[in-house]
Amino acid sequence: MKYFLLLLVSINLFAVDATLTIEKDVEQRSRIALVDGSAVSNDKIFNILLSDLKISGHFLPDSTVHKGAISSNFIVPALKNQEYVLKYALSQKSGTKLLIRLLKASDGTQILKKSYAIPTTSKMPFLAHKAISDINNVLKYPDISWINRYVVFSRYTTPRHSEILLADYTFNYQKVIIRGGLNLFPKWADKNQKSFYYTSYGKLIPTLYKINIYTGAKEKITTSEGMLVCSDVNKNGSKLLLTMAPEGQADIYELDLATKIKTRVTKFSGIDVNGKYVDDESRIVFVSNRLGYANIFKKSIHSAAVSQVVYHGRNNNACDAHGNQIVYSSRESKNTFGNNTFNLYLTSLNGSGTRPLTTTGTNQFPRFSPDGSVILFIKHRGNSSSIGYINLGSHQSLLFPLGGRKVQSIDW
């Protein structure tokens, strides 16, 4: 319960972020109320359903918990001002079962009735996400299937030790996939999220593995002295952008998985990291200190010319890309130590249309959703850390509290 109170507080705090102007007309969103028909009420699923509806950008959910029989089509007068009523019943006596009915609030007409069941209780959040995703599709709103995806992340436990976990996007579900050792930089290997790449420090030099999350089967991909990170995977999963240092110099390489041929993409004597495919995957954006500080640059994979993308900020040390869109983290203050303000900015490959996405706290690890509609990030504010989401279309944003351990890297 306390986590959801924190969540609500976080939502409120984030909502005051001045840059997050609500461009989409509020009236264009569908007003919807949730009616709980479960034998035993469960705050958790109510809050997850509520979050899903909000972050979709397509609904204006009523945040009041209503109770009512799921089988009845009767709509109480107090809910007649809504457009839709979502009745649901959750049972976790044996596994998890969720029944939903979407009704028109005006006359109780049923639009969708569907049931979901899984043999475990821990994955209940995924049923809620799937239900809202289905409702969204039935109403023919733009796709929000990203809410069904796993988030994979690594976090430090003790010095030289970490763990890699799976989570749902709200972090209500979490499961350790690799415990112990020092395993870092997980990156999904395929769009179906069956495997991910990660860097292992279990041997003398860093080693990149691919692991199947269902069977545990591991495949050694490559090794490199110095450092080794899988920064990006192309759309069909056949090529990787790696940061590696076979001669002690961190540069970006493209690895063709079929031929095993590595192409060195950058050749700078300083730091080149964080390569991300853009356009038709013939070009990349990346982070480099070639101007004396970390900043965002772009280049073609097969030519030498490098162009600066971002012309603002003292330290832009992380980025992600989707199509021609680029999101990057920029240090806004110049404290050597302590709390620096890092904000996220959205820009394009030619540097036009730059706009801030956050204005407070330390906002890092920006990651686009697979469809580019939403940005995930980690927010530190005071002593608390949260995972945040910004819907670029609707400008809706949500924060979910994280535990105390430091996130090392994240992907979804």
Partner: protein, 182 residues
């Protein structure tokens, strides 16, 4: 018996993977898995947990060689300024000392580990740690020492020796450690 279990498991799994669009079963029955999500196998499939606790338990430096030293095997740690990877004049004597230890190491492989404070993110911090490790390796080579048995690795911010929120503590973490590879 095993065959029966396999068949039962496979049948049960099929139920999980088979959709049942609009039907609405009662919630109090024993039909878990019979009315399932058709297109979200990631929900039903059980994922693994791998335990790698046997790795990463190597002994870190004893701290006996000076006020701050997290290296081992006779080496001295080299410390760096914030965001920097150049070796300061104050560290040159330690570099010379480390060069002598490398010289006397014989056939042993030596590991140079670059480390950073917590003020960085993601890949960039690991690259910064790598530049520090490379700077120390190059400085040792500049002393005329054969570095062919030296391996460099960056641990980024993953291997702090101090976790207090003080400048002195952060400075201890911006370092390069050396040790014999085991």
């Amino acid at each position: 018996m095993i065959k029966t279990i396999l068949i039962t498991t496979a049948t049960f799994s099929l139920f999980f993977l088979t959709g049942c669009g609009q039907t609405a079963p009662g919630l109090d029955g024993n039909n878990v898995g019979k009315n399932n999500i058709s297109d979200a196998t990631q929900i039903a499939g059980e994922t693994v947990t791998i335990d790698e606790n046997q790795y990463g338990n190597e002994t870190i430096g004893s701290g006996t060689a000076g006020k701050y030293n997290s290296s081992s095997d006779g080496f001295r740690s080299i410390y760096f300024e914030f965001g920097d990877y150049s070796i300061s004049s104050a560290m040159e004597n330690y570099v010379a000392s480390n060069a002598n230890v490398v010289n006397s190491a014989g056939a042993s492989q030596i590991k140079i580990e670059g480390n950073c404070d917590e003020f960085g993110t993601d890949e960039y911090n690991y690259a910064l740690g790598l530049k520090r490790a490379k700077a120390v390796k190059d400085a040792i080579a500049a002393q005329g020492v054969d570095t062919s048995k030296v391996v460099i690795v960056s641990f980024g911010e993953s291997n702090p020796v101090c976790s207090n929120p003080t400048d002195e503590c952060y400075a201890q973490n911006r370092r390069v450690d050396l040790r014999l590879a085991k």
